[in-house]
Amino acid sequence: MTHHIIAVRTYLIIYFALIAFLFATVGASFLPSTAPHLLIAMTIATIKAVLIILFFMHVYYSNRLTWIVAVASLLWLTLLLAFTLADYFSRGWLDIPGK
C-alpha cells in the first residue's frame, strides 16, 4: 500500500489557515450592508472546504478518480440549485398570472 503520509507541519499550517479564514468570514459579516456579503462568505467557505478536502481528506495526494467523485458531487448539487432557482427567477417574466 502506498500512503502518502502528510507531515504534521502541513496539517498545522492548514489548521491555522482555516482558523484565519474563520476570523475573516466573521469579520466580513460586520462589513457595511452595501458589501456583497453572500459572495464573500461563500468564497471564504469554499476556500475552507477546499483546504479540508485537499489536505485533511488527502484528495491532493489521491488518484484522479477521487478528484472526479469530489468534484462531481458538488457539480450535481449545483445542477439541482441552478435549475430550481432558474425556475423561480423566471416566474412572472411573461406577465401571465401563474406562469
Binding site: A72, L80, F83, Y88, S90, R91, W93, L94
Partner: protein, 551 residues
C-alpha cells in the same frame, strides 16, 4: 513484511449446495443475495399486479361497482404505483440479475462489499414490510408521487409511514449502487479493460451512478413531507410562505432519473441477448457504452418536464422541454445499434430473444410518445390523462419487465443449472407481448380522447377501449404467471443445462452452471473483446446439423 499467503482449495460444490435457512439468511455470496432479491421482487410484483388487476376490473364499466368507494380506488392505484416502482422495478434487474452477474462478468469473486450487499437486502425487506403493513392497515391515497399540499395537509392516510418505507428502501438502492460502482472500478480481472466490459456492466455502472446521486434527494424530500405533516411548519404550505412546487422539483430530481434506474438495466439485458441470438458482435460497442453514461447524465437535466402544467415558469418549461428531446439521442443510438446488430445476423428466435425483440419495439413506442409529451403544447393537452399512463407503461412494463423476463430466461440455466421448457417460454413471451399491447395501446387512445387518469369512474363512451384494456390485462396476467410456474417446475429436474447452453461469450458462461461458490477456479485473465460471435460459423453449424438430420 510479507508472509506468503496460504493457498487453499476452493470448496468444489456450487453455490446452491447448502440448504439451511441460516446459510441463506446470513449469506454474503452475491449470487445468493441475488436469489433472495429474486424471490422478494417476485412477491412484490404479484402483490402490485393484484392491485392492478382490481383496478382493471373496476374500470371495466363506467360506474364504480367493484370497489366500494372512490377512496378505495385511490389507495389501490397508490399502492400499485409505490409497490411496482420502489419494490419491483427499481430493484428488479440491478438487484437480481446485476447482483448475480456483475462479479461473474468482470471476473471477480464477489462484489466489493459483500456484507453491505446482504444488508441492502435486509433494508429492502424492512422497507417492504412497512409497505405491506400500510396496505393492510389503511393504505395511502396520494399517488406514488406524494404531491403536496394534498399529501401534507389534506390526506388522512398513512403518508408518514409511506414516507418512512420509501426512505428506508431508498437506502437499499443506494447501497446496491455504491457496491456496483466500487466493484466495477476496483475488482475487474487482469485484462478486463473498460472497453472489454460487457455492455451489461456499462449499463449497470450508469444505473448505479443515478442511484448514488439521485436517491438521497428523494430521501430528503420524503423526510420534509413527514416533517411538514408532523409539525405543520409550512415548508410546502403557501399560507406560511412555502411553495408546493418546490416539492415537485425535489421529487422529480430523483424520480425522473429513477425512470432510467428502471430502464437502463433493461438496456443492459438486451445488449447481452441481441448479439448472442443474432450471432454477431454488437454493432457500435462504444456508442452503446457511452450512450448509457450519457443517459445517466442527461436524466438529471430534464425533471421539469413533469411540471409543465403545475406552475413552473414557462421559460423553465421551455428549457426542460428542449433538454428532454436530447435524451432521445442516446436512446435512439441504442435502438439503432441493436437493430444494426441484427442485420446479416444468424437469428435464433428463442424465448430470451423474443423478449428482447419485444423490448426494442415497445421501448421505441414508449420513447417516441415520450417525445410527444416533451413538447409543451401536446403535454398541456394530454397531461394527467391515460396517454401518460400508456406512455410510461410502455417504458416500464414494455421495457423493463420484458427485459427482466428476457434476462431471467437467458440466465436461468446459469442461475439454476436447469433449462426452462422452450415451448412454454415462447408462448409466454408471445402472450406477454400481445396482452401488453392490448392492455396499453387503447390507453393511448383513451388519453388522447381526454380520459383523465386516477378516476374510478368515466364517461360511457370510453367503455369499449377500457374493456379492451381489461381483456388485454387478463392475457398479460396469464403471460406473467406462466414463467413462474414452469420455472419453479424446472427446479424438480436435476441440472441439465451445462455451462453454456446458448454458446454465449462472456465470463459468466465459462464456469459451470450453477457457478461454484467463489465463481472461478483459476485466476481469470481476459485476453479478448466481448461479443466475439460469428454469424458465418453459426450458419455452418446450422447447415451441418441439417445435413446430419437429413442423412
Amino acid at each position: 513484511m510479507s508472509v506468503p499467503a496460504v493457498v487453499v482449495e476452493d470448496p468444489p460444490e456450487d453455490y446452491l449446495q447448502e440448504h439451511t435457512l441460516k446459510s441463506w439468511l446470513l449469506t454474503t455470496d452475491h449470487k445468493r443475495v441475488g436469489i433472495l432479491y429474486m424471490i422478494s421482487v417476485t412477491v412484490f410484483f404479484f402483490v402490485g399486479g393484484a392491485a392492478a388487476t382490481l383496478m382493471r376490473l373496476e374500470l371495466m364499466t363506467p360506474r364504480g361497482d367493484v370497489l366500494a368507494t372512490p377512496d378505495a380506488y385511490n389507495r389501490l392505484f397508490t399502492m400499485h404505483g409505490v409497490i411496482m416502482i420502489f419494490f419491483f422495478l427499481i430493484p428488479a434487474i440491478p438487484a437480481v440479475l446485476g447482483n448475480f452477474l456483475l462479479p461473474l462478468m468482470i471476473g471477480a469473486r464477489d462484489l466489493a462489499f459483500p456484507k453491505l450487499n446482504l444488508m441492502s437486502w435486509y433494508v429492502y425487506i424492512i422497507g417492504g414490510m412497512i409497505g405491506i403493513w400500510i396496505m393492510v392497515f389503511g393504505g395511502v391515497d396520494t399517488g406514488w408521487t406524494f404531491y403536496t399540499p394534498f399529501s401534507t395537509m389534506f390526506s388522512n392516510t398513512m403518508v408518514v409511514t409511506a414516507a418512512v418505507a420509501v426512505f428506508i428502501t431508498g437506502f437499499s438502492s443506494i447501497l446496491t449502487g455504491l457496491n456496483f460502482v466500487v466493484t466495477v472500478h476496483t475488482m475487474r480481472a487482469p485484462g478486463m479493460t473498460w472497453f472489454r466490459l460487457p455492455l451489461f456492466v456499462w449499463s449497470h455502472y450508469a444505473t448505479s451512478l443515478i442511484m448514488i446521486l439521485g436517491t438521497p434527494v428523494l430521501a430528503i424530500s420524503v423526510v420534509l413531507i413527514a416533517l411538514e405533516r408532523i409539525f405543520g411548519v409550512g415548508i410546502f404550505d403557501p399560507a406560511l410562505g412555502g411553495d408546493p412546487i418546490l416539492f415537485q422539483h425535489l421529487f422529480w430530481f430523483y424520480s425522473h432519473p429513477a425512470v432510467y434506474i428502471m430502464v437502463l438495466p433493461g438496456f443492459a439485458v438486451v445488449s447481452e441477448i441481441i448479439p448472442c441470438f443474432a450471432r454477431r458482435p454488437i454493432f457500435g460497442y462504444k456508442f452503446i457504452a457511452f450512450s448509457s453514461v450519457a443517459i445517466a447524465i442527461f436524466s438529471f437535466l430534464v425533471w421539469g418536464h413533469h411540471m409543465f402544467v403545475s406552475g413552473q415558469s414557462m421559460y423553465a418549461g421551455m428549457i426542460f422541454s428542449i433538454l428532454s428531446f436530447l435524451v432521445a439521442i442516446p436512446s435512439a443510438i441504442k435502438v439503432f445499434n441493436w437493430t444494426a446488430t441484427l442485420y446479416k445476423g444468424s437469428i435464433r428466435l428463442d424465448t430470451p430473444m423474443l423478449y428482447a425483440l419485444g423490448f426494442i419495439g415497445l421501448f421505441t413506442m414508449g420513447g417516441l410518445t415520450g417525445l410527444m409529451l416533451a413538447s409543451l403544447a401536446i403535454d398541456v393537452h394530454v397531461h394527467d390523462t391515460y396517454f401518460i399512463v400508456a406512455h410510461f407503461h410502455y417504458i416500464m412494463v414494455g421495457g423493463t419487465v420484458m427485459a427482466y423476463l428476457g434476462g431471467v430466461h437467458f440466465w436461468w440455466p446459469k442461475i439454476s443449472g436447469r433449462m426452462y421448457p422452450e415451448f412454454w417460454g415462447k408462448l409466454s413471451a408471445m402472450l406477454v407481448f400481445v396482452g401488453f399491447n392490448l392492455t396499453f395501446f387503447p390507453q393511448f387512445l383513451l388519453g388522447y380522447l381526454g380520459m383523465p387518469r386516477r378516476y374510478f369512474e368515466y364517461r360511457p363512451e370510453f367503455q369499449v377501449l377500457n374493456v379492451m384494456s381489461t381483456a388485454g390485462a387478463s392475457i398479460l396476467a396469464i403471460g406473467y404467471v406462466m414463467p413462474l410456474v414452469y420455472m419453479l417446475l424446472s427446479l424438480r429436474k436435476p441440472p441439465n443445462a451445462g455451462p453454456n447452453p446458448w454458446g454465449a461469450t462472456g465470463l459468466e458462461w465459462q464456469v459451470e452452471s450453477p457457478p461454484p461458490v467463489h465463481n472461478f477456479h483459476d485466476p481469470v485473465v481476459v485476453t479478448c473483446d466481448p461479443y466475439m460471435y460469428s454469424p458465418e460459423e453459426a450458419e455452418r453449424d446450422y447447415a451441418h446439423d441439417q445435413h446430419v438430420r437429413n442423412a
